[in-house]
Amino acid sequence: MTGARGRVTASLRWRVLLALSLAAMVPTVIVGALAIMRARDDVEREVDRGALAHIRALGAGLDGTLQDARRTVELAAAAWADAPDDVRATQLLLKRLRRVVPIVHALAILDPAGTLEFGDPVPANLDVGLHSFGGYIGDAEYVDGRMVVHLVVQARGRTGELMGVFVASLDLGFVRVQLADARLGHGARIVVVDGAGVLVASQGARHGAEAASGAHGPVSLAGTDPAVDRALASTVEGTLSANGWVSAYRNLSSYQSRRGVRWAILHQQPERDAYALARETTRDTLVIGGAALAVALALGWFFATRLTRPLAALARHADAIASGSTDDPPPVHGPGEIGLLGQRIDEMARRIAERAALQSALARGDRLASVGVMSAQVAHEINNPLTTVLGYAKLLQEGKPDGHPDRDALGLIASEAERMKSIVGGLLEYARTPRQPERMTTASATSVAASCDPAAVLRHVGALLEPQLRRTRAMLAIEVTATAPLAIEAHALQQVLVNLAQNAAQAMAAANIEGGALAIAARPAPGGIATLITVTDEGPGVPPADRGRVFDPFFTTKAAGAGTGLGLAVCKHLVTTAGGSIEVGDGPNGRGAEFRVVIPHAG
């Protein structure tokens, strides 16, 4: 039984814990997953935005530098085209141009057919001439260990006629200088490639292809880096994740190869570095989510235990009731409906206990009634010979003169016979009380139910006791708050209460207590099915050791000859015969004795 109850309790606890865990885990997992995904998306977007913004700014700087050089050369070319034959003015112009555009490494003027007229020799492969268009640069070239690019500008005169072509070789060292100012994240790099994918300059972590080449001479990243290939095939900016790198690319609008492919600037960063924030957010989310889950489980365990503990107590309580245990289990406290259920079970247990006590009392009443019947028969048989013995003893005593040696012996025989008649009278009184056990044990009883008004009985008892109590100087107090009629004959209840009150008064008198309080009170008993009548005094009380025997016939604590020991036995017999109970305990405040009589209500 205990094992089954334990399993039930454990199962319920685990179910509650599971429900609470699910209630905590499901939203935690969903919110956590959303947070992780959102963080990843946000970080990816911000990485892309940041990288694009970075290369836009850097690209604008590179474009601006080249545009400045281009416009200056264009302006010089237009000025030269108006007087192309003035050698001195041309030489002066080239001199000033070198000074104004510091990135110019070499400068040349060609006629429309591509023939060098002024300045530095032009590479043969540049193919500048009649069919070339102006305003472009080519791809990067290594010259004297430095990287240069050739800017080609048409020189058209006042009428728009083509008078020649300016070719300016620009030192690309400025690209490296401008990139050096870039502030890069961990592991990141900025790369500028020309239209053929040749690495012009880089900043930050070295490119793998650059490292593999030994970094001497031009290094082409085309075909080795998907981001570079994408950038060179595109006319717009974009981002790409490939080979563990996050790349943002953008074309440099002012730079393009002779075949028209624009140069590109790229921001590249290893994914593990670029998305470190997302990874940290994921880790933090998992840690916080796990902690929240652990707390939720702990709280779930706490609340599950707290919820099931009163249920387990209720189960034990119910087991105790079912097994008929007389131990009074502690009351079950719990929240809400569980507490209410505990109260209801306590109430039910109390009523069952009262009912059991009543039934037990009835059982005892039956047994005592049987003893009473037998005692009555014995008393009846003894009473007649005793009368004869007493009569003859008195006659013989009267026939003897004073001082006769038999006179005292005959007087003793007569007095003992008197005492024996008193005992027999008590037995007959005990046996004369009505027998009504069937009324409590069967619903089909045909006897007329007894009934009395407790208030009337207590008033009558007060009147009967008044003369005696005046002699013993006891202070009687009667209190009646119960109004329901009781299932007992009025004279029986009266005899019970008179016996109890007389015993109380005698006890206080024997203890030389004058003016002791003697209270008789009738009030409704718990459960609403009976009335509790208490008789309390301030006498010496009944020792606990005697409380189990004071209702036994012939048990008395009075002096020899002062009592028959049948008064309380008769009380108990009368009470239990009416379906009630009687018990004795300490009086109020631990003083004196209190007799508690419970009589069921009539009807």
Binding site: Q91, T115, F118, Q256, G260
Partner: protein, 392 residues
């Protein structure tokens, strides 16, 4: 357990199967702008066609294409301007179009554009040229002639302000005036002659009269949009490509322009292409009804297929009708090169830096250089430090 076994078997079977051979990407050299490139890439991705794109800026497309083809680094398909076709054909660089594609329902203007001397060297992707664009509530000029256009513009001045006409300082815009004076851009004698001078004088005189002084080079597009949106212009000489940039296409009406040039974009397959079949397949895709409709919608390209044109909005059909009377530029290799000299000459006249006589004389000398190469004189001394020749 049985399901797991089946999955394992299926995975093993998949792993053991020979990977499908990926078709090689079609190499496509084009002169699309950024937005056109994005739409092209998206369209090809949707249609599952692998394309390796090579870009060339339109301004230098002819030079770039010529270099690439002479270097035998041939793409499978090239998009070119119609004026470049004669040069490529003369160089023997192109392959003829397959008959199956030639037989499609091309519009007459598109068909004429794609052929040279009766031979289909290309597929037409779009047709364009100069037309007169005006508001639907603005009356069309009485006739396509320049005189009636200018008269209508003068009449609209009270409504729009001092400059009711929109023209660009561009050699292409000079063509109608040149033709109106009896000249032609690449006639055997070039543009030299009294007709060219008169044409340039007449055109330049419009700026500051009916046409506002030209904005700085490179800002023509936004300035035209602003004037159109502000109703400051009644008539704009432009091409259908302008539709895409205008906000309210329902406002737009078009009228023909006398002597207008007509051109377009062509798809050609070089003779040296490694996969010419793939090139023509991609050309077929780009001229399919779906793709033509997409490009027409996004970039106002007038469709070249009759079915696509019939399904296009009325504005595009009106543009095609207006272009029907336009004439193609002389189909000789030198034609596109003339614009390099014509453009700055026109600018010089409009800006007042040169007279029309001076500018036309300069263009004539440029024409002579293009057709008669001159000897190269020796180089003169340079100013400042020079690189040693061996350093190069």
């Amino acid at each position: 357990m049985r399901i797991v076994a089946w999955i394992a078997v299926a995975l093993a079977a998949g792993a053991c199967r020979e990977p499908a051979a990926r078709p090689p990407a079609i190499r496509f050299l084009h002169t699309f702008g950024p937005q056109e490139t994005e739409l092209f890439n998206t369209t090809m991705a949707e249609r599952g066609i692998a394309v390796e794109s090579l870009l060339a800026p339109f301004a230098r497309g002819q030079q770039v294409i010529s270099e690439i083809l002479h270097a035998q680094n041939c793409p499978d398909l090239i998009r070119i301007d119609a004026t470049w076709l004669p040069g490529l054909v003369a160089g023997g660089l192109l392959a003829e179009a397959p008959a199956a594609l030639v037989a499609l329902d091309w519009t007459p203007e598109a068909a004429a554009l794609a052929q040279l001397d009766g031979v289909w060297w290309s597929l037409p992707q779009s047709v364009d040229g100069l037309i007169v664009l005006h508001d639907v509530e603005t009356p069309a000029p009485a006739s396509p002639s320049l005189a009636d256009l200018l008269a209508a513009a003068r009449a609209a001045r009270a409504r729009t302000g001092p400059y009711p006409l929109g023209i660009r300082v561009d050699g292409y815009w000079f063509v109608p005036w040149l033709r109106d004076e009896g000249g032609e851009l690449a006639a055997p004698e070039g543009i030299a002659g009294e007709g060219a001078v008169r044409a340039m004088t007449r055109l330049a005189a419009l700026f500051g009269d009916l046409v506002p002084p030209p904005p700085p080079s490179g800002s023509e597009d936004p300035e035209e949009m602003r004037r159109w949106d502000a109703h400051e212009v009644a008539y704009v000489i432009t091409g259908p490509w302008q539709f895409a940039g205008l906000r309210d296409r329902a406002r737009i009406a078009v009228s023909p322009l006398a002597h207008a040039p007509r051109g377009g974009q062509l798809l050609v397959v070089p003779r040296c292409a490694k996969h010419p079949g793939d090139g023509w397949r991609l050309a077929g895709e780009l001229t399919s009804l779906l793709v033509e409709a997409r490009f027409a919608d996004a970039f106002a390209a007038v469709p070249t297929r009759r079915a696509a044109l019939d399904a296009a909005p009325a504005l595009y059909r009106a543009a095609e009708a207006a272009l029907a009377g336009a004439a193609m530029l002389p189909r000789v290799p030198v034609t596109p090169l003339l614009f390099d000299d014509l453009q700055p000459a026109l600018w010089a006249v409009v800006a007042g830096d040169a007279t029309a006589d001076e500018a036309v004389a300069g263009v004539r000398r440029g024409w002579q250089r293009l057709t008669k190469p001159v000897a190269r004189p020796a180089a003169r001394p340079a100013a400042g430090p020079a690189l040693a020749p061996e350093a190069r």
